[in-house]
Amino acid sequence: MELTPEERSILGGGRGEAAKRALQYQIEVGRFWGAKRFVPVTNVHMMGDIEVMGDGGLAWLKEEAGSGARCVVGTTTNARCMDFAHCERMGQDAGEAVKEKELIAALRRMDVVTTDTCINYQTVYQPHLGEHVAWGDTGTVIYANSVFGARSNFEAGPAALAAALTGRTPEYGFHLDEHRKGTFAVELKAKLDDLADWGAVGKLVGESHQNYYAVPVFHGYHRTPGADELKHLGAALASYGSMAMFHFAGVTPEAPSMLPNEKMAVSDADLEAVYRNFKLGDGDARLVVFSGPQQSLFEMKNLSDLFENRKVKGGSTCIVTTNSAILQQSRDLGYAQVLQGAGVTILEGVCFYILQNLSPMREKNRWTNMVSNSAKIVNIIGAHRFNTILRRTADCVEIACSGVLK
């Protein structure tokens, strides 16, 4: 790779051992992908918690923090695996909670801003057109590339942290114009009145085109979609299709004026088939989850409206996850009180699918099914052996309150 004088200085130890190691690592990754050079990044979003990192990762991180590793650009953290206020009641390990606190302390020592959110793009930082960033999880990356026109690859935890320490990332993939062009067109004939419908579109389009470099171009939709709708669409495309970018005619900044030759369409009938195809298993309706991604303020308001004067059925569990900022606003506005009054558990700073101890939690509660309005979470939680069922938001609330699965 072609290195600037500043990069050669980092390699020579001019910015300390941690930055040197980080750049050496980034050069190996860049070489693999044929990157010719680095691009400076302005913002980093990283995944790092004890559930994903394990004891080895924690030991490595503590050593990094101790050896003077410090972020040189604004760096935030993704959703993590524990809400300490709920750990004990959720049956999570006290020993792992201690490690999680050590991990958070090490990150803060490195100047990481521990926001613990997967909706940084809605609540923390909105990059502009053409801005290079180094983000993960996948839902944040596809939103950055598509809706903002910013530029990021999927950056795994170690890669994002390296970018934070060096202030740059290898130039390959979605940093380059050549990978940002639409590769197939999707006509949206369906009404898409619920967030779950947008996730279902992501499932249909993603499953049929699994490829990091596939970029769908949506067109023909009858109105302007909102941020939460694009969030569920993007999260599902990334999850089912491993995709990092989409275009939406008339909506996203880099949408092309000409459609690609390959074409597909999504109709209301296609969506009904998606819902119908989720098997109901043994009919267990005792777990309903609103998570993956965390809820925005408007999602919290909508849930609060739907749960007003209702109660989660005895023996059932309904979980909502969001970040600390949204939760605080939801308290100020009374949404959180309505939800909690209805028996909903609100978890802060986490995502349901990465909860520490989730499999034993499932066994202890004898949960077999998980119902959600998020197409992403119903896709990725399979390793914990849940049978998952996608339903529209109001239907999820009805299932939570009635205990009847339809």
């Binding site: 994903v52 394990g54 999927f154 795994a156 170690p158 491993s242």
Partner: protein, 136 residues
Amino acid sequence: MSITVNRAFGPVVEGEAVVSEEGFSPRYDLDRWSGVITKPGHKLEGTSIVDKICFFPTAKGGIAAGWAFYDIKWKKIAPKAFIFGVTNPVMVQGAVFAGIPITEGWSPHPREAVKTGDWVRVDPARRIIEVLRRKA
């Protein structure tokens, strides 16, 4: 018999091949405490990948997979190398971080050249995988 790969990272390694017809995620498919593929219905369900040279057609999974390679290496249950038909940035970032050799792209397809149980050598610098011994 040998296979040429398009991109590669890591030192030369030798080991027993495990050839999969299905893609792989260290989080969706693998028990990260035993190194055995446990995802119900995975074509390699019940197979250990510890110390193996693993051939997978595709990579699955999201960002969380990035730390998983270092985690399994630390627990001494990592494979010796990952050989992918098509991979994604997270797999590469994770494997490089853990120091596990990884390659992408292949010719010919492994199904024509190597079987599970064969002894193979991966040479990332030369971008070549050689079958040294057939399974007895």
